[in-house]
């Protein structure tokens, strides 16, 4: 904060901001030239587009244009970071509310077939001002706790708007309304796949990484094999695993009873597990290799056994690097779990691929948007945790 203010006083008054110029240009195009909402008579037909002033009641429509204009001018001029951020956030919140308002305004009363969805203008405005927020946030460089609170506030706001029914008129929520039960079942399966395979990879990968760190000969061959697995495309690995798991289910007694089958959750789980192993093992090796020799020597001097040294010296020092692997794996698994739907493994991919099959794009969004939000939230949370762990470590060193 303090750095930001000093930087601002050094700036010349009425100078233009380059990023702000891009944001302002995007905002002008998004608000005035591109359509704000799409209206469809039913969920499959081609839609007709509506500009802001057609999609919203006059007061709200011109109010939004005025707000966007003010925020664009603030972005264009070199204004203090906090002001830029506040104005951009105001536009984003207004956009979210007005998308719902446009849906209510455009849908004829008692018409269950009509679909209203945000159009390109909405997305361009959202992108432009999100870019401004991202820039301001990067420059303000808040600590991990503030970032987590910011994320929690955004999620709470979105959750509140969902709960209050602000977006109930939008097509994506109409798709949700007609399959609310399956949505939560698939959400659960998606999380089980992503988190379960991560947990399994951590349980297997950590000891394997420690072993690779201690035994030189093992390291190259294990990492080589895991690297090769990483280059197999996900869709193929999912498919290839159908064969061995089908064989196990058919010939190993009891395997089928605990849910191992050729298609479904089992091959998806195993595939995600195999993809997760490389980052976990590789980062464990890198983390342990980065432990200062002096720390190890001191521990040996204190008469610690190998196990004590591992648990009290090496592992805590390597922890931030291992946590980085967990971040990579989690974000990657949340994305890859969508592919499980192709082999009957469930998850948000079910909606994505069903939607693609029916050319119903709202259904695609119902699967894609939660996946992106989950991956994004997971990345922010784990980045904050990594930073906290790393700063703990450096404080511990200084003490």
């Amino acid at each position: 904060m303090a750095i930001g203010i000093i930087g601002d006083t050094e700036r010349k008054p009425l100078a233009f901001d380059k990023l702000g110029a891009i944001v302002a240009a995007l905002a002008a195009y998004g608000a005035l030239l591109a359509p704000f909402a799409t209206f469809k008579a039913n969920r499959i037909v081609q839609g007709e587009t509506r500009a802001i002033w057609e999609a919203l009641p006059p007061l709200l429509g011109y109010g939004l244009i005025a707000l966007v204009t003010v925020a664009a001018v603030i972005a264009l001029l070199r204004t203090p970071l906090t002001v830029r951020m506040a104005s951009a956030l105001a536009v984003l919140v207004a956009l979210c509310f007005l998308a719902g308002a446009a849906a209510d305004n455009l849908t004829p009363p008692d018409n269950a077939y009509a679909r209203v969805s945000p159009a390109s203008g909405f997305w361009i405005l959202l992108f432009a001002f999100a870019l401004l927020v991202a820039d301001a946030l990067t420059r303000l460089n808040p600590g991990p706790v503030v970032r987590l609170l910011f994320l929690a506030a955004v999620l709470a706001l979105v959750g509140g708007m969902l709960f209050a029914g602000v977006w109930d008129g939008l097509s994506i929520l109409k798709e949700y309304a007609s399959r609310a039960d399956t949505f939560w079942a698939e959400a659960g399966r998606h999380l089980t796949l992503a988190l379960g395979s991560l947990a399994a990879a951590t349980v297997v990968g950590l000891p394997l990484g420690i072993l690779c760190h201690r035994v030189d000969r093992l390291r190259n061959s294990v990492l080589g094999v895991l690297n090769a697995i990483q280059t197999i495309p996900s869709i193929a690995l999912f498919g290839i695993l159908i064969a061995p798991l089908g064989w196990i289910a058919a010939y190993v007694p009891g395997a089928a009873a605990i849910g191992i089958r050729g298609i479904g959750v089992a091959p998806a789980f195993v595939a995600l597990f195999l993809y997760s192993l490389l980052p976990v093992v590789a980062n464990t090796v890198v983390g342990l290799a980065g432990v200062p020799r002096a720390a190890n020597d001191a521990a040996r001097g204190l008469g610690m056994t190998d196990w004590q040294r591992l648990a009290t010296v090496e592992f805590p020092l390597a922890f931030p690097v291992i946590l980085t692997a967990i971040r990579i794996v989690l974000v990657q698994n949340i994305g890859l779990a969508t592919i499980a739907a192709l082999i009957g493994g469930g998850g948000f991919g079910v909606f994505v691929f069903q939607g693609i099959g029916q050319t119903a794009m709202d259904l695609v969004l119902l699967g894609a948007v939660p996946t992106v939000v989950l991956a994004f939230a997971a990345a922010i949370v784990l980045d904050a945790l990594i930073e906290m762990a790393a700063s703990d470590r450096s404080q511990g060193r200084a003490a």
């Binding site: 990067t138 280059t231 495309p233 869709i235 193929a236 991919g349 695609v364 894609a368 992106v372």
Partner: protein
Amino acid sequence: MASLSNLARLSVLLLLLVFLLQPIWFEPLLRPLVQANAPAIYNRGSLFWLTILHLRTVFIATVAATVVAVSLAILVTRKAGAEFLPVSRSLVNIGQTFPPVAVLALAVPIFGFGEKPTLIALFLYGLLPIFENALTGLTTLPPAVMEAARGAGMTERQQLFKIELPLALPVILTGIRLSVVISLATATIGSTVAAKTLGEVIIAGLQSNNLAFVLQGGLIVAVLAVLIHDALQGLERALSSRAHV
């Protein structure tokens, strides 16, 4: 040792070519995987042709992504574009959390079905690793070298083309390699939106419960990925060892 692994690579490549051109020779190997009357070799198109189309899609997307990503990285590391450096870094971090399937799925409503959304998704997703590595390469040049270049009276343009880009090249190539491997895999998913890639073989296998199709489609892509990954890695090693002389 090195020649032995080169020999192994060469024989894998030959095996792949033979399989693509004369898949029928391998029929007895795949026959046990399918039911009595089902075909064991993909019969709805030529495997060789699909492989070419698959590689073409990946190639076009990667070339476009490389040109755009490297230009952007050069832009934000110049004085005129320095204002964009922080935000471009966070954009790359944010962009990488987007799952490839989601990028593909979101491209469909805008670009329709077929090759186009696949190309767009591969292009967008391919940008990130290349941009990130180009940025790393261009911002972590040894200060002494840059000092010497300036001292020798080089213009900014000369510095860029004679010093910065050649030194950053191995790191940029690593980014391109990551991008190609991701694209090879993601292109298979493109077949769910009717793009002509090897994913077609895998998906046909998944739909008709034909394990032989899944296996041959998957293995071709995997072998392609491993071979291309290896070749690019070899190129990087050659370049970086030259750079260190």
